[in-house]
Amino acid sequence: MKVRVAHLNFYYGDFLALSDISMEILDRQITALIGPSGCGKSTFLRCLNRMNDTIPCTCAEGQILLDGVDINTPETDVVALRQRVGMVFQRPNPFPQSIFDNVAFGPRVLGTHRGAGLADVVEQSLRGAALWTEVKDELDHDALSLSLGQQQRLCIARAIAVQPEVILMDEPCSALDPIATLEIEELMQRLKENYCIVIVTHNMQQAARVSDWTGFFWLGELVEFGATETVFTRPQHQLTEDYITGRAG
């Protein structure tokens, strides 16, 4: 088990956005979080690397254990945490710099690699994100000149260049066309051999296709959590069944 969340409550000001969430996330597996807009799935995802800290007037109560160590404490070094728990965002957000500089950003900032070592990390990361063959001759080009799908894979390469343990993906395909989406999904299957992946998605077929585990959120609560096959074929709760068959939400 990589991450264990116990009795997590989350507040935006007075508003209770997540209530009493408990979940176990396994290493080298893909865990999908589904649910309607505003159900708290993205908020939950952002709790796992404390990105919610950047939003004022928020507060998270409860335990989030990463390898058995609680990371939801004021003493937690969030900078170190985010090096272990990387994130890919909804809209591809490469920096307006060259492709190389984008991937090299993390290693440079953390000071882990220099010179030839840095070039190696960039190549490995781009290969890992299935982008190397497409961009290997234009590493000095502006990252914004890539297609959206390539940009998103670049963001994944940038995230894995830091060598994280967990990768969080917040609707990584919602801005992409079907072919680019398929490429990202195939990439996720390869990445899960080395990383623990948590993905938030609006697309239930995507959750069914790619994930090993599925959690269904509804109005800030985790209604159902289990093996993807079970959740999609024999859901325990009526609400889950209504949602995945399109009658609710």
């Binding site: 690397n49 990105m51 950047t54 900078v79 170190a80 945490l81 985010r82 090096q83 990387g86 994130m87 965002f89 809209r91 957000n93 490469p94 920096f95 307006p96 710099q97 950003f105 993390g106 440079r108 900032v109 953390l110 914004l144 963001c155 940038r158 995230a159 830091v162």
Partner: protein, 305 residues
Amino acid sequence: MEKKESFINQIGRARRAEFAIETLIRTLGFSSIGFVLLIFFFLLREGLPVFFEVRPGNLFSTQWYPTFDLYGTLPLILGSVLVTVTAVAIALPLGVATAVFVREVAPGWAREVLKPMIEVLAGIPSVVLGFFGMTLVAPLIRETLRVPTGLTAFTGALLLAYMALPTIISVAEDALDAVPKGYRDAALAMGATRWQTIWRVVVPAARSGIVTAVMLGMGRAIGETMAVMMVTGNAARMPLTADSLLRPVRTMTATIAAEMGEVAQGSVHYHALFGIGIVLFLLTFLINLAAASTIFKKRRRGGLR
């Protein structure tokens, strides 16, 4: 029948009013273009003769003594360049750092207070600043740096930097503000600290806006007259020695302002002053063009994103 006619009359009147207003607005619009062209024409008419009346060797020599027919503009041009470049060198780091502080570090309420205050600074009349410069800054420089006079190029540069700061801060702050949140999030999510995020992602992403800010500040500095005239000592010497910053200097603007009142209209000296005006005009035009082209480049790339 009568009713119908009055209706048509009404329409006719409305049309005439429309036409009158349209014509008025068009005339005003074109006349402002016309005035600019007239200024340019007048400047050329009064200034161009000097290039024929004075030999180029004299015009670009190092001595400006109009009474002895020596019209060397080099000390004036270099004086303006020295003061302006020094002012920008001072204002750029200060301005960018302040913009970063206001936008990225200061809490929300402080930003609300700071931004209008900085913009108010831009409204201080330059003669008031020049007065402060003469009575406070110049003596301070004379005593702390132990130079014969406090009226130096450096004093002028300090005041100009102060005058360019509000523009630089305000425009640079807007540029930082326009950097998408996604860039910050991406950097933070990789384990970059707040400072690494600001210096390696946010500031580079706002680079073109910051360049524009500096260009605008520079445009303001090079054309500034009153404060510079009051504190730079106005000695037309070539600022080529290492200590030139701490010696008096004379700028193009100060020369025109100081001498125009006493010159005989139509004389060579008169034309020479207008010639300096043309040079000044070209310089500011080039700077503004550079600023505009960075803005244009930014737009073509689809905004700051």
